[in-house]
Amino acid sequence: MKEFYKFRRPAYLLVILALLAASSCKVESLRPVNEASKDISGNWSVIGATRNGTDLTSIVDFSQFKLTFSEGKYTLLNKLPFLVSQNGTYSLDNPQYPFQISFTPAGSPAVATAFTYPIVNGVRQLTLTFSPGCPNNIYIYTFRKAN
């Protein structure tokens, strides 16, 4: 009897451990995290510009040119060649995963362009590609939020 007890105790322990292990497993319901809408509102300044690959940043004064997004509207301050030349409204093709931004100057049709919105060194940047003059002349402006 004593030996029987000794023999069965590990078996009981194994069964209890197995039950505990089984009960500890729980199926978690995975819910996708919603991507935050991209908020580009604020004042943006040009920190880099190229024309057909040629760097313009050091030969053109971009310091006074500002692009402001606020409540669906954009404004241009101290204009330079840009996608549009008049103030108006803007929209993103997808607020969460935007690939395109559309500018609609007051009284004119909308003009859309691809844009990227990377974080560089912890700072959000906005890069726009466009042709303000001849279609073959490609400009790329990189903006950073102004303080």
């Binding site: 024309r51 030969i59 303000p132 003059g133 001849c134 002349n137």
Partner: protein, 343 residues
């Protein structure tokens, strides 16, 4: 474990040798010899000129079927992709050359299209104005290649020149390759004549002159006192004017401070002149003492036109600090002219 490792090392060597051998056999097609271009020296805008390009694929190896590839360096304004017809005759068949699809990549250029790869490797040849393009063609069918074969081919080009109606001086460029090796660099492969394999062949021809156009003269061949970048632009582009004082001796003192004196003509018949000697009009010397200068302007703002106006063209001089010494087109008293247009 040690035995296993030794076997692996041996296998690695064996595989490497085999791979190198197989690679050498596969990537080697042929060597291009005899590359002759026959083209006229001059032509009239709007005419159609004949050009022939003759070449030989020599010492062919492998049993691949490959397309003949032809790159043509031409002024963008000629719209060659729409204005050239090219056929070929060869010892293995005749046919026509068709435009290389833009999604076909050059095999040695890490995913670049053929035209981009040629531009990256050869630039615009020895032309001086960056308004040239490489238009690339391939044979309409692949040509079967047999070991030791020699293929002689001639491209017959029928080119309508001067679609932009500009009198032009330019150096046309030609490239011959094949679709398998592309712009493969010279390696250890030796041709039958003892020379190294030439996987492609390229040449830039002497200056070709196009006359009879009503547009302005576009000179890609000769250094100019002034040049404009981009060569084609509108008044809403940033425009960079360059002055090269080394081209010829002018009345302007060497490596001094120089200024832009310009007049814009708008589509509504008005003129706007900016001819003061100020920071706004001052050229920047690219390198101290170089006697080469640049100024970048946004014409709409520079001349202060209204939103409803458009600048058609611009006449300009380069002046000294007093404004009394003016240098114009060809170092004369006539102004340089620039027309704002895209074609």
């Amino acid at each position: 474990m040690r035995a296993s490792l030794r076997i692996n090392v041996k296998a690695k060597w064996l595989w490497s040798c085999c791979a190198a051998l197989i690679l050498g056999m596969v990537i080697t097609c042929c060597s291009i010899t005899v590359f002759t271009v026959t083209q006229p020296d001059t032509a009239v805008v709007g005419s159609t000129i004949p050009i022939s390009v003759k070449f030989t694929y020599h010492n062919i190896k492998g049993g691949n079927t490959e397309n003949l590839v032809f790159g043509f360096l031409v002024p963008k304004g000629w719209a060659v992709s729409q204005n050239a017809k090219i056929t070929y005759t060869s010892t293995v068949g005749d046919g026509k050359m068709v435009l290389m699809p833009s999604n076909v990549t050059e095999p040695q250029s890490n995913g670049l299209s053929w035209s981009s790869a040629l531009l990256k490797k050869f630039g615009i040849g020895t032309n001086l104005v960056n308004d040239m393009e490489w238009v690339v063609y391939q044979s309409d069918v692949g040509l079967p290649l047999n070991d030791g074969e020699e293929i002689t081919a001639t491209l017959n080009i029928s080119l309508k020149v001067g679609a932009d109606n500009n009198n032009t001086l330019c150096k046309l460029g030609y490239l011959i390759a094949e679709s398998h090796d592309g712009l493969h660099e010279v390696d250890s492969n030796i041709d039958q004549n003892g020379a190294k394999y030439e996987y492609y062949a390229e040449q830039i021809t002497p200056c070709f002159m196009l006359t009879g156009g009503s547009g302005e003269v576009v000179d890609f061949c000769n250094p100019q006192l002034t040049s404009v970048d981009p060569p084609k632009s509108l008044d809403n582009d940033f425009v960079t004017l360059s002055f090269d004082g080394t081209v010829t001796k002018t009345a302007l003192p060497s490596s001094s401070t120089i200024y832009l004196c310009a007049t814009a003509n708008t589509s509504d018949g008005k003129t706007y002149t900016v001819c003061d000697q100020s920071a706004k009009t001052q050229f920047t010397q690219t390198v101290a003492g170089s006697n080469k200068y640049k100024i970048t302007i946004w014409p709409r703002s520079y001349f202060g036109i209204s939103d409803s106006q458009t600048i058609v063209n611009m006449n300009y001089y380069v002046t000294d600090a007093t404004g009394n010494i003016k240098v114009g087109y060809g170092n004369t008293a006539s102004p340089f002219t620039y027309t704002f247009k895209c074609n």
